[in-house]
Symmetry: C2
């Protein structure tokens, strides 16, 4: 597996990963009907660095890292990760998270925070816990899941220094 900076030419492969997640509406608080162009503009946003994970030259995962807040909150990083539905369970999310923690320290971030981990996404929560994140808060009913209705969202955090 190779993790590298995203390129313009990766946009179709990135959309093939994030499109089904956005349309599904169960993992991210994003508009389910957002256009491909808007989704790519978001994922490649000027406020963030975006990476892809390749296996045998095929893009199977992608993530971004950005300041969680501007101004006085710039020293805390925030990331979003997405893995192709066909490639789950192969350690791609774990590898991207490990990469992001290295990148965050290199970039001088002093902590990393995930603001909105959907409580039904138990595999992700277990993975983030295994990667050193603690749950700082459970936001009650913060997310309307398409199948489950209102479910909680977690604020997860780890210090990097």
């Amino acid at each position: 597996m190779r993790i590298r900076a995203v390129r313009e030419a990766d946009a179709p492969a990135v959309w093939a990963i994030i499109g089904p997640i956005i349309r599904g509406g169960a993992e991210y608080a994003l508009e389910r009907d957002m256009s491909e162009a808007d989704a790519i503009a978001y994922w490649y946003g000027a406020d963030r660095e975006t990476y892809v994970a390749e296996v045998d030259g095929e893009v199977l995962g992608t993530y971004y890292i950005r300041p969680n807040q501007p101004g006085g909150g710039r020293h805390v990083a925030n990331c979003g990760y997405a893995v192709s539905s066909a490639a789950r369970g192969r350690g791609i999310a774990r590898a991207m998270c490990a990469h992001s923690l290295v990148r965050a320290r290199e970039a001088g971030y002093r902590a990393m925070q995930f603001n909105f981990v959907i409580a039904t996404n138990t595999r992700a929560i277990a993975l983030w816990e295994g990667m050193g994140f603690a749950t700082l808060a459970r936001l009650p009913g913060a997310f309307v899941h398409p199948a489950e209705g209102e479910v909680d969202a977690l604020v997860m955090y780890q210090r990097l220094d």
Copy 2:
């Protein structure tokens, strides 16, 4: 006191309130050097409703209300409030918060969340507690205060239904 929707012509009065707060860098996680135009574009953003509080025809406070998250997080409101430094302690923030809670219920929001209340802003925290907000999390060292260095930020929340 009268609270009404903001108008384009209010922009100088709004900037007179939020400008010193942004430049001070102690109350909001916003870039301290952001331009007046960028600050007004942010405060009047298309994703939010913005109001002003007038006393004897003078704009002394302003606030916005918006969805805290897109997609599955749209049922939770988020607000930002600002009061002229010359008009603090006169109940303007309290009146705007009360107005925002009414407006949130009217608009169908089911909860309100403040994501990043700086822990040194003890007057605001006491006010939000008095208005029914509970602290869901304390984000350790989440904000670099210009005088205090790293200070905590609070996630505050209340259910509306």
